[in-house]
């Protein structure tokens, strides 16, 4: 029963949404509304589960004095600080001037933004070391990248302002994005779409059981 009930739930909910697409009226619309509401709450609990699991693992690491346990203690401290302040502030926890908002603006924003900003350095370094025009396809990729990178910034206009309107780098970059790039994206999109449709069907029909811990 540990496998059958989850499979049944998956099938009922999945088929429910498919039917609702074609018959968006009562009772299927009502069922879809319920399922969407429940998803919202379950989704929130799933993320809360992740946060609590992180807390549990950090507490265990600190308690057992494992390697770098000091940083785990910092994780626990900052998590509790943010949580206690946020819950204590009440419904207006996000309002400008609250302690939660202060932590968001002066701690969360700098850290999260910088975490992604350092990728800029790595993309340049990786391009220098690994991006090679080894064959025609790679050369085509490079040329398209150059056109887009130069054409989408003002320096592209500066370098090609002597060309007639419609043939400047910015126009060529626009043409590349609108036509050949779109064509390739569309082919990829349709291919991925077909893959998702077939996988979703397999999951609903119970042929894929990885999500409940079983094989195919």
């Amino acid at each position: 029963m540990r496998q059958e009930i989850p499979l049944l739930i998956t099938a009922i909910v999945g088929i429910g949404f498919v039917i609702q697409y074609f018959i968006p009226h009562w009772p299927f619309s009502r069922m879809s509304d319920w399922f969407s509401d429940w998803f919202s709450i379950v989704g929130a609990c799933a993320i809360i589960l992740g946060a609590l699991n992180l807390l549990k693992m950090s507490i265990e690491k600190t308690y057992r004095r494992k390697e770098d346990w000091g940083y785990a203690a910092v994780i626990i401290g900052t998590f509790l600080l943010m949580t206690v302040i946020g819950i204590a502030e009440g419904r207006g926890f996000r309002n400008p001037g609250t302690s939660f908002d202060w932590l968001y603006n002066y701690v969360y924003i700098p850290l999260s933004a910088t975490m992604f900003a350092i990728l800029a350095f790595f993309v340049a370094s990786a391009s220098y070391r690994a991006f090679r025009a080894r064959n025609f396809e790679a050369t085509l990729l490079l040329i398209a990248a150059f056109f887009v990178m130069i054409g989408r910034v003002p320096v592209g206009h500066t370098l090609s302002s002597f060309m007639p309107v419609g043939w400047q780098l910015s126009d060529l970059a626009s043409w590349v994005m609108t036509y050949p790039q779109t064509a390739g994206q569309r082919a990829i999109m349709i291919g991925i779409g077909l893959g998702i449709v077939s996988t979703s069907l397999r999951i609903i029909l119970g042929l894929e059981r990885a999500h409940i811990g079983g094989g195919k």
């Binding site: 929130a44 419904r91 398209a144």
Partner: protein
């Protein structure tokens, strides 16, 4: 307090940037603070917006929300090893709901609408008008039709890419390479934009060197 806030933000920003030199305790401390603050942020936001704002404020008008709350509670039981298996039920619900919705959404929007958009009149601006498209539009439409078709042929791996089929697939890979090149260019633009934002904070808001 503003001075302390700016210096704290700068300290944390430079801590993360110090990773570019090498892994060090300053980076590890900043990273640990980020992990803890992020988890706390998500917890508080979901608590007030979702559990209180949606469930608690809404259950009297919609009693069926209690089913969602029950499923959510079962999800949290994953933390208890002995009865953690029960979390498969809400997980099955999530997977089933996502599969059902994605099946139809991707079929309609990402397949059927895209195919329809590809099969457009080549020499007319609409089905209702005569051959009134300019050369630019004709070439563009041809590029889209040829590129989409050959790209799809490339992704068909059930037949060996030989002969005419292979040549068609090769044209397809050219279009896909252009797509990847454009994606690479835009990715560089995106990453640089993020860095510009941080440098602007350091040089402008913190040190006051730029406007």
């Amino acid at each position: 307090m503003e001075h302390f806030a700016l210096w704290l933000s700068a300290f944390l920003t430079l801590g993360i940037l110090s990773f570019l030199y090498k892994d060090n305790p300053w980076y590890k401390l900043s990273e640990a603070v980020f992990v803890g603050i992020s988890a706390g942020f998500w917890f508080v936001t979901l608590f007030w917006d979702n559990l209180v704002g949606k469930f608690w404020d809404g259950w009297q008008d919609e009693p069926m929300l209690w089913v969602g709350a029950a499923l959510g509670f079962l999800m949290l039981l994953r933390l208890v090893p002995r009865i953690g298996w029960i979390s498969r039920w809400p997980l099955a619900f999530i997977v089933g709901a996502t599969s059902g919705l994605w099946l139809m959404n991707y079929l309609a929007s990402n397949i059927m609408v895209q195919v329809q958009a590809t099969i457009q009149p080549l020499f007319s601006t609409s089905y209702a008008s005569g051959p009134d498209a300019g050369w630019g539009a004709i070439v563009g439409s041809l590029v889209i039709v040829v590129g989409t078709f050959t790209g799809l042929v490339y992704f068909y791996f059930s037949k060996e890419h030989k002969g005419a089929f292979g040549a068609t697939a090769r044209v397809g890979i050219f279009f896909i390479m252009i797509t990847f090149g454009a994606s690479f260019g835009y990715t560089v633009m995106s990453r640089m934009s993020l860095l510009i934002g941080r440098i602007d904070f350091l040089l402008g808001d913190w040190l006051g060197l730029i406007n």
